[in-house]
């Protein structure tokens, strides 16, 4: 890992677009999403695609995610990802 440069981060100078939005997701044993938006929510009818990204592994906060392109029972298509560092789920367009 790269040594910390001891500088405070000031990343609030501008706004990012397409920030991830936290969502509640129920997973199956394999870790795939089966239901989104608890307690009622929508059931995942199909996972069209999934892929993993690993980036910035040299920094103190690495990025490691699995994205899922899913279809819901409402007919909606949604892009989700699971943060492999924290285990939390987010909704984000890829």
């Amino acid at each position: 890992m790269v040594k910390n440069t001891r500088k405070a981060l000031h990343t609030g100078k501008y706004k990012s677009i397409n920030n991830p939005v936290p969502v509640l997701v129920k997973e199956d044993k394999a870790g795939f999403p089966i239901k989104i938006g608890l307690p009622e929510g929508h059931v995942v009818t199909a996972i069209e695609d999934h892929w993993r990204i690993d980036d910035e592994w040299w920094r103190s906060k690495p990025v490691s995610r699995i994205y899922y392109d899913v279809h819901l029972d409402s007919g909606q298509q949604m892009m989700l990802y699971r943060d492999l560092i924290t285990g939390r789920w987010y909704r984000q367009l890829y």
Binding site: T5, L9, T11, Y14, K15, N18, I53, E56
Partner: protein
């Protein structure tokens, strides 16, 4: 007139120790990069045989078990400025040079400080002990510097009389002369100041030209170099860490533009423009890059500044992926006069900007943003585009 000289040996290293005290207990090399060469800026005093600006490779061939720190030039500069600010409490006439030597004029301070010892103690109280300052007091800058050089670290030396005896055994290398003249003195077999002061002015003038006269006086402890007090300048600083390390000039430029936009909003209200701005970056390997932009006329629009910054970034490549950028505006001034824009279409754009500015003034925080590409190729979606303030 009495002048006090404060030398701060191993200043850069002391700044690092101030920030992280554990460096005091281990051998450390402070390095910097210039033209892709890694050089030594400072080193722990126990590492004998090293010197400033020597290649890092040579230093490591002597001592391989040392901790390496990349120099943080803005931090050293701000620490030095803070020291000068504090010392201004003693005398308003203070000069700080590039080598981190400080000269203080003691003219007119007799009523505040009855004796020299009181002044010395006041100076030692202001400078943190970690810097182990060497302080010299004499009647001119050269003698004060030499007195400081010859005293132990954390101590002081007052040179009031018998300067000839003090100077006679000092080597010629201590004189502030050109490297060429220093080499020629050695070629002539002149190694000490007593050898040099024994010579009449004629031969020195014929061999060294105008510098010969200077040598003649310096060897006798005569130095008429004036103390040039620093002029208080209002500096505006800004810096920001990039969300991720990048080699893209567009991202660096966008961040600098965003930082400078805020400055321009404030200074344009006062009718001021920018004469000089220092741009710096810090790469993820902690290498420091810095360049200065000077303008003939004070610049009042951000476009002219970003144009120059862009050219600078293209002409002087970064030393690695950048993770931190910043600027320092040190000279502001009033523009002499400006011809208003006569083209209506261009003015329409100005009018829009003015409307946005008015809206923000009325409602507070920035209300209208412009979407800008940051890293459109990034695998992390939120890094691809950013919203920047349109009010620039």
């Amino acid at each position: 007139m009495k002048i006090l000289c404060v030398l701060l040996p191993h200043f850069s290293l002391c700044c690092e120790i101030l920030r992280r005290p554990s460096f005091a207990e281990q051998p450390v090399l402070v390095t910097y990069t210039t033209d892709s060469k890694k050089l030594v800026l400072d080193y722990s005093p126990e590492l004998d045989g090293l010197q400033q600006d020597m290649p890092l490779q040579h230093a490591l061939s002597r001592y391989n078990n040392v901790s390496l720190i990349s120099a943080d030039i803005p931090y050293y500069r701000s620490t030095f400025t803070k020291l000068l600010d504090a010392l201004e409490g003693i005398s308003p006439l203070i000069e700080g040079d590039e080598s981190r030597n400080i000269f203080i004029s003691l003219e007119g301070l007799q009523l505040i400080f009855p004796d020299y010892r009181t002044i010395m103690n006041a100076v030692l109280d202001i400078i943190p002990n970690i810097f182990k300052p060497q302080i010299g007091l004499a009647c001119n800058k050269l003698l004060a510097y030499l007195a400081a050089l010859s005293c132990p670290q954390g101590g002081y030396r007052i040179l009031t009389d018998n300067t000839a005896a003090f100077l006679k055994d000092l080597p010629c290398d201590v004189l502030p002369i050109s490297i060429k003249s220093r080499q020629r003195l050695r070629d002539f077999g002149l190694y000490t100041l007593s050898q040099l002061s024994a010579l009449p002015p004629g031969p020195l003038l014929s061999q060294f030209g105008m510098e010969g006269k200077k040598l003649y006086n310096l060897a006798r402890g005569r130095d008429d170099t004036p103390l040039i007090p620093r002029i208080m300048t209002r500096a505006i600083n800004g810096n920001a860490a990039l969300p991720s390390v990048t080699t893209s000039l567009e991202v660096i430029l966008a961040e600098l533009e965003s930082l400078l936009a805020k400055v321009f909003i404030n200074i344009s209200r006062l009718g001021l423009g920018i004469y000089r701005v220092d741009i710096w970056t810090r790469s993820w390997s902690a290498a420091h890059w810095e360049r200065t932009i000077r303008f003939k006329e004070p610049v009042i629009d951000i476009k002219s500044v970003t144009k120059r910054i862009k050219r600078l970034l293209e002409d002087y490549p970064q030393q690695g992926p950048v993770e931190h950028v910043g600027f320092r505006i040190t000279r502001l001034g009033y523009p002499r006069g400006r011809q208003g824009n006569l083209l209506p279409k261009v003015r329409a754009q100005d009018q829009l900007m003015e409307d946005i500015r008015q809206l923000e003034l009325r409602l507070g925080n920035p209300q209208v943003y412009k979407a800008q590409e940051m890293e459109p190729w990034s695998r992390i979606p939120e890094r691809r585009y950013i919203l920047v303030n349109t009010n620039r």
